[in-house]
């Protein structure tokens, strides 16, 4: 590269020296062209301590990129930092990350992730800067389509996305945990990394409950963010949103694949575009009553956290896709709220009910523009997006007690929560149940019964613990050791290949494995050349050896996949399924065999789509 520059300088010099118009013009024509240099791609991911799997994927990809002549560099950064630079600032080439939903999700997730209308926004909404007319159209269609058509459209959408690779799905990891079963059981019923999984845990150690000490569920994690920040919409700080879902109720939750009423007692379609929702009797953790106003506020707030206070709306970096389903939300009375959705499939609309409901009286003050020491640095940020939300006020089954950053965080059971009430109704039911059912019109007795009916049985009277303590530890291996030594009941960290065998060696700890929908992926910044080129992304995707990565980085505790919807197989067309006979990606198969890359064939493929290499095999690129 230096050779070229000096030649260019020399030519320019000669051109000037000769001074003849024709010769100088020729020199300008040559020297005026930008020269090419080796393509540098930086891969960002979290360090091994925080997440043992992502860095291994990044390493494997970097090695293969290097082999085909790209200068691939890995930059590790902590989870907050990674999210900040990638999701908020869009300052990245390639990154390895994990999706945030643990439980299988509706295809409408892709709307938020890839619709081009979100490219300018900061947050989980299209961080890739992916813009594609066909994909946009399919995303719109699947929202509006009725059930029979939707499957076909979603299939088409996946085919289109798998071809264009806004991001490369690598694998769906098993949600692994080390757990003790001497005090709590039920680790397998829901992933312990999900709020529903934790809430339904059963306490079995009767003897320690008697001495008056609160029953405490103790967890260990290597992710310290929950001890620093409790803002449910701060994308930098949330991993799966497990603890936020325990602090903040949602109108509905997903239980065993079905949407069930939660903070909403029930809902009804009054016409194809209007959903009327009745709320349960509920109060915020600070004692204020929760009303329909709070719900209506939340939907408006997610769309624009400045509440109209800035020239351009400042949307929430989380829940944006879901929030966009709702066109307007109005309080009919204190406990009834009306959501207007555009022509939308019912299951898609139900997805809109799964956003955390925020207390208006706390968050309305956070609609102002964020300042640092009284100075406005950036008018596109509101206080709501940057507040750590100390002493979070939610309405959920757990409330915040205290925290020491980097060490631990403590929550306690909210005794006023409807789950607790449903539990007490349950026990009282034996005597008065029938009476309550026949006497349907009496308001006092119906609340209890209706709550009982609409709350799925496993949640009634839960949680069984009075306190929830989360200890922040150094790494996945430490978390396992805490469980083995009896300092914690279970881990809520991602476990890597070094920690899994350790569980087997410890007699008191068991390995719990549940399926997770939080897939690992390689994200590309389509705003930057050459990652803007879908053909180039396709070739990068074919450098990801998913089978080998699953064996090495996940010690086999993951399933390679092509479609982001692989945990909802009913949506995935046959030609996109990863079957074990084929052992390779159906769309962008790995360019090599048994873990070793065929670099020359990959270079040839790159040449075919218009890329050039210098004499030592380095991939050349312009304007980086």
């Amino acid at each position: 590269m230096t050779g070229r520059i000096s030649r260019r300088d020399a030519l320019a010099g000669i051109g000037l020296a000769v001074g003849s118009a024709g010769c100088a013009g020729r020199a300008r024509n040559i020297a005026g062209r930008e020269s090419s240099a080796q393509l540098v791609l930086e891969i960002r991911t979290t360090p091994a301590d925080e997440d043992p799997n992502g860095i291994r994927i990044a390493r494997a990809l970097a090695e293969n990129l290097d082999a085909v002549g790209v200068d691939a560099r890995i930059e590790t950064m902590n989870g907050t930092d990674l999210r900040r630079t990638v999701l908020l600032n869009h300052d990245f080439d390639v990154y390895v990350g994990q999706y945030t939903e643990v439980l299988p999700f509706d295809p409408d997730v892709l709307y938020g992730l890839t619709h081009s209308k979100f490219t300018a926004e900061a947050g989980w909404q299209n961080p890739f800067g992916f813009t594609d007319l066909d994909v946009d159209e399919l995303l719109e269609e699947q929202r509006a389509a009725d059930e029979s058509d939707r499957a076909r459209i979603v299939s088409e959408l996946q085919e289109s996305m798998c071809e264009k690779q806004p991001f490369t799905v690598v694998a769906f990891p098993d949600a692994l945990a080390a757990a003790r079963t001497d005090r709590f059981v039920g680790w397998e019923t829901g992933p312990p990394i999900s709020a529903t999984g934790l809430l339904t845990m059963d306490f079995i150690d009767e003897r320690s409950g008697d001495d008056g000490d609160p029953v405490t569920l103790r967890l260990a994690t290597a992710d310290g963010r929950i001890s620093e920040n409790w803002n449910p919409i701060a994308a930098e700080y949330r991993r799966y949103g497990t603890f936020m879902s325990m602090l903040y109720d949602r109108l509905a939750i997903v239980d065993d694949g079905a949407t069930v009423p939660w903070l909403a007692r029930e809902w009804e379609w009054t016409d194809p575009e209007t959903l009327e929702i009745g709320l349960r009797d509920s109060t915020w953790h600070d004692g204020e009553p929760l009303t329909a106003e709070d719900v209506a506020f939340t939907y408006e707030f997610l769309r624009d956290t400045s509440m109209g206070g800035t020239e351009m709306p400042v949307p929430s970096p989380q829940f944006r896709g879901r929030g966009s389903i709702v066109e307007s939300a109005d309080a009919v009375d204190d406990s009834t709220v009306r959501l207007v959705v555009a022509e939308t499939d019912e299951t898609v609309a139900e997805r809109a009910l799964q956003v955390p409901i925020l207390p208006r009286h706390v968050w309305i003050d956070r609609a102002e523009t964020a300042t640092v020491g009284g100075f406005e640095l950036d008018t596109e940020t509101t206080e709501a997006l940057v507040t750590p939300n100390e002493d979070p006020v939610g309405s959920g089954p757990m409330r915040f007690v205290e925290s020491t950053p980097g060490e631990r965080v403590v929550f306690e059971r909210n005794p006023d929560h409807f789950l607790v009430r449903a539990g007490s109704v349950d026990s009282a039911d034996a005597e008065t149940g029938e009476e309550a059912e026949t006497d349907g019109d009496s308001a006092e007795s119906t609340t209890g019964t209706e709550e009982e009916e609409s709350i799925p049985e496993p949640y009634r009277g839960k949680p069984e613990f009075d306190r929830l303590e989360v200890a922040i530890v150094g790494s996945d291996v430490s978390a396992v050791q805490w469980v083995a030594d009896g300092y914690a009941d279970g881990t809520v960290s991602n476990l890597g290949p070094d920690s899994v065998p350790r569980i087997g060696r410890e007699s008191d700890a068991r390995l719990v494995s549940t399926q997770s929908a939080a897939f690992y992926y390689v994200g590309y910044n389509a705003r930057r050349a050459p990652l803007s080129n879908p053909r180039f992304r396709g070739i990068v995707a074919s450098l990801v050896d998913k089978s080998t990565i699953v064996d090495d980085a996940f010690a086999g505790y993951a399933r390679p996949a092509t479609s982001p919807l692989a945990t909802s197989p009913e949506w995935v067309p046959g030609n996109l399924r990863w079957d074990d006979d084929r052992e390779e990606d159906p769309v962008h198969p790995f360019r090599g065999k048994d873990g070793s890359l065929d670099a020359e064939a990959t270079r040839e493929a790159l040449r075919e789509i218009g890329y050039r290499f210098d004499e030592s095999g380095r991939l050349l690129a312009r304007d980086q």
Binding site: E42, P47, A48, D49, P52, I55, R56, R59, A60, R73, I74, E75, T76, M77, N78, T80, D81, P405, G406, A471, V473, G474, S475, V477, S478, V480, Q481, W482, D485, Y487, G496, D498, R502, D552, A553
Partner: protein
Amino acid sequence: MTPLLPVVTSVLFWVAAMCLVAGVAVVGPRRLYGVGENLVPYLRESRREVAALLVVLVVSGIGRPALQSISEVLGLRLTSLIFDLEGNFVAWLQGTFQSPQLTLYFSSVYVFGYAFLLVFPFIAYAALPESTTLKRLIVAYALNYAIGLVLYTVVLAYGPRNVMPDAVTSLLYTFNPEFRTLTAEVNVETNVFPSLHTSLSVTVAAFAALTHGQYPRWTPIAWWIAGSVVVSTMYLGIHWLTDVVFGTALALGCVYLSYRYVDAVEDRDRSAADRNATDQSAADRNTPDQNADDGTVEEPAEGGSA
């Protein structure tokens, strides 16, 4: 309840035991006796230096989260640069020499040996008839920490175990996860450049060489432990070779500066004391009825050690 207490207890126990043994073997029972008498006056004499060390430690203890935030926003991200610079050296080191015995040895040295190495010189140098060496040591420690803190803020980098877990195992924490609870108290994972384990160990080793005359037995012990600590930081996958090289340079720089500083301070004190003594002797001469001979000789000597 956390596993921190048992770990701290065992470190304290082993360090105390090693100090006792080394105290008898290196310093000798008679000189060891002097420690009790000297320690308080010596520390009082070096109160400025002790204060400086404490300030640095407190700032690093309390201000670290804030400095860490600054580092995340403004720091230089050098992980990939360091990796480009040295490549797979640490992976090679670990891959070539890894064995359960060595892992046990280096883990113990990294935690117990290092703690002993840092504490013991205080005892040894407090047993010397002059406070100068102790003062130099304190200054050198303070400089190491202070410069280390600045570099940690300016440079944001992760160690080999975090960047190449497929090639470098985090041996210390994988086989002794309880140590993780201890090191998490005193360190942050992005603080790898330079290696303070290296710089402080090399500092102690350098002092051991410079005080070879007083403690001939300490020199080989200090060198052996310091050398082991330096290798352990890489063997255990915690630091890059680059961190170690810069840590060594930092140590030598700090030792040099501590000599320059303490000599300068003592020169100044001595000349101040001389001036006092001159005034005193002048005063003495004005009162000829006192026995002037004794006073003039003794006064400067006492002042010099102040």
